[in-house]
């Protein structure tokens, strides 16, 4: 850390010596969260946190063409959070006098709970650092992205972490990946749009805080023991609690349908409208179940299903 710090300090000393290049960055998206809640830490402080359900089938790409002393702009122009994070990254790297255009190309649907703005911000942060020949650690990225967008998802980490998404810090590093899942994801409200910051954070009761304590322990066990069954149960339980705060249409129909097909569970976007059904990739009846679930979703009017693996 110290070496990197020194290098970075020297960067800003003479902008004329700075070697610039076109920076590139990329980030995957997510499909809602496996878990989202509010957990009491050992000092009885309540901390909002989440574990994303990562989805590599959707992604954002950023290209940053740096110009010294130029104004910083973003394309498309509405990606203001990505612009802000680019600014923060350049400032962190003592390259605040660098400007230019950051261009975002994304396949992540916006305002659905797929983490489009987080994906844009991560891609932009990587591209900005790349343009000045630097790399950010995942932790740095986590705190910068949260600073830029107030609340973010956690897929800047290449491993499973319990992320305090409004503080930008890791509450628990599981030091390994989520167990592998087969996921059928879809949008429960094709026309609706969710602005993450416009709806207030869920006001959980003390009873729900206690549930989250149990769920977080189960989550740790599921990840450490590579127990997809338990992971599915945690996702379902988290979805049920949060259904009280941001209800998904057809929630109970979808849940009972998933149960009938003996799926592992369901996962929801805790600020969004997407939802998914989780399956075990080693399930011998996997193909049958996928067909069955897709047919049942079609009966509920859901035709657009994204099938992916974590």
């Amino acid at each position: 850390m110290e070496v990197i710090g020194n290098q970075r300090a020297s960067l800003g000393q003479d902008i004329h010596d700075l070697l610039l290049r076109t920076g590139k960055g990329q980030s995957i998206g997510q499909f809602g969260e496996i878990f989202q809640g509010q957990i009491e830490d050992q000092f009885q402080r309540l901390r909002r946190c989440l574990v994303s359900l990562p989805c590599s089938s959707i992604y954002s790409r950023a290209t940053f063409a740096p110009i010294k002393y130029a104004r910083l702009r973003v394309r498309p122009a509405h990606k203001q959070k990505a612009l802000k994070v680019t600014q923060l990254v350049l400032a962190r790297l003592n390259a605040a006098r660098i400007g230019g255009t950051i261009t975002i190309e994304s396949t992540v649907p916006e305002a659905k709970g797929c983490g489009s703005s987080t994906a844009d911000c991560i891609a932009a942060a990587i591209a900005a650092a790349d343009a000045v020949g630097q790399q950010l650690s995942e932790e740095e990225m986590g705190s910068l992205v949260v600073e830029g967008e107030v609340a973010s998802d956690n897929f800047m980490f290449q491993r499973a972490v319990l992320f305090a998404h409004r503080e930008g810090i890791v509450l628990e590093d599981y030091a390994r990946n989520l167990p592998k899942l087969e996921v059928l994801g879809f949008d429960t409200a094709q026309d609706a749009i969710v602005e993450t910051l416009k709806h207030p954070p869920a006001a959980y009761s003390w009873r729900q805080h206690q549930s989250f304590c149990t769920l977080s322990v189960a989550l740790r066990r599921a990840i450490w023991e590579d127990d997809v069954g338990l992971l599915g149960r945690v996702a379902t339980a988290s979805a049920f609690i949060n259904q009280l705060f941001l209800p998904k249409p057809m929630f109970s129909e979808i849940h009972s349908m998933a149960e009938r097909s003996a799926a592992l569970g369901i996962a929801v976007a805790h600020s969004g409208t997407v939802m998914s059904i989780l399956l075990d990739p080693t399930d011998r009846r996997l193909e049958n179940k996928v067909e069955e679930i897709k047919a049942n979703l079609l009966n509920l009017g859901i035709s657009n299903v994204l099938h992916f693996q974590t």
């Binding site: 050992q42 000092f43 009885q44 003390w206 009873r207 206690q210 549930s211 304590c213 149990t214 769920l215 977080s216 322990v217 189960a218 740790r220 066990r221 023991e225 127990d227 338990l230 149960r233 945690v234 339980a237 049920f240």
Partner: protein
């Protein structure tokens, strides 16, 4: 809640002891400190300020002791109104913690006795101005306190198939089962009650066994959580407590013995199932009773042999004279009673 509370409570967490291949005993030194501490936190959130004297009512003497421990830790003056008679050892420990204990008259069958109890409570409340009143047994924080325990079971054991515990206020079994069912809805919950307790539909009578059962239906008892209900006699519970000690060296109270009796039977019968039983306290307070042969013979509570298995009954009123059980089937109380007495 201070760091000191956290340290104290941590030291009271149960040990999970594997007593059979498929049976784990959650052995608490003193379980009731958890709901007492948790309810006190809730009371603070509800607006109680530390300068106000506290009056707590509870159906359980152990809950009274738990409350006295936590309040004494902080120097909060406490008056406890207990619904049931506390033994001498417990009374000594309570008074050593500067708590004032008031015991209510036993509820009788007639309305006269109910009136006496209410009068007694009113009298105490009138004596202490500006107090904060809370019924610990009926407070939602009583079952709500067991999230940590459900988490501990999941952390150490993963998924379990049976949760067995004695029922009094409904706190520990309903609380723990409620948290576990959020993840494992198929888990079976088994309640252990005693004869003469109204909890699961037995006609009210004087109970020999303490710490199990109740003369009134508590607000925290959620009948719809239970798959199976057992009734045991005082003599059976005492004998089982002694047997538990001989087989596992766990020196516990009679409530633990009753829970273990049922749990070890279920573990034998379902060899593939993982069974957990709750042992709520150690045997310290029961040296003069459960662990005293002379006392048992004098009180006619001596039992030569434990029954191997319970007798199955269809309705609560059919249970007895010894260890009996029925499939409760997650039904509400009224539904079970309606089946028993169809119009």
């Amino acid at each position: 809640m201070t760091a000191q509370d956290v340290t104290v409570l941590d030291s009271y967490k149960p040990k999970l002891v594997k007593v059979e291949d498929n049976l784990t005993a959650a052995a608490f030194r003193f379980m009731k400190i958890f709901p007492a501490a948790f309810c006190l936190r809730r009371v603070q959130e509800e607006g109680w300020t530390e300068t106000q004297p506290l009056i707590m009512q509870t159906s359980s003497c152990n809950m009274a002791l738990g409350a006295a421990m936590i309040c004494n830790l902080h120097g909060f003056p406490l008056t406890i109104i207990s619904d049931s008679v506390c033994g001498d050892l417990l009374r000594i420990r309570l008074e050593g913690l500067n708590a004032t204990l008031i015991t209510l008259a036993e509820p009788g069958v007639g309305s006269e006795c109910q009136k006496t109890r209410i009068d007694q409570i009113e009298e105490v409340r009138a004596r202490i101005p500006n107090h904060w009143w809370v019924n610990l047994s009926d407070h939602p924080g009583n079952p709500g306190a067991y999230g940590f325990f459900a988490a501990q079971l999941i952390e150490e054991l993963g998924q379990i198939d049976y949760l067995v515990g004695a029922v009094g206020s409904g706190g520990s079994v309903c609380g723990t089962a409620g948290f576990l069912r959020e993840l494992f809805p198929e888990m079976l919950a088994v309640g252990v009650d005693t004869f003469g307790s109204v909890l699961f539909g037995q006609p009210r009578q004087t109970r020999r066994l303490r710490g199990i059962g109740s003369a009134v239906l508590p607000q925290n008892l959620d009948h719809s959580l239970f798959d199976e209900v057992h009734w045991v006699t005082a003599a059976e519970a005492y004998k089982a407590t002694r047997r538990l000690y001989q087989k596992t060296f766990l020196f516990c109270g009679e409530t633990s013995g009753a829970a273990w009796l049922v749990a070890s039977y279920l573990a034998r019968k379902n060899s593939k199932a993982r069974v957990v039983c709750i042992l709520p306290d150690d045997g310290e307070l029961y040296r003069g009773t459960v662990y005293n042969d002379q006392y048992l013979r004098r009180e006619n509570l001596w039992l030569a042999h434990l029954p191997e298995a319970p007798r199955e009954v269809a309705f609560p009123a059919d249970a007895g004279p010894g260890w009996s059980f029925m499939h409760w089937g997650r039904r509400e109380y009224a539904e079970v009673i309606r089946c028993e007495n169809p119009l």
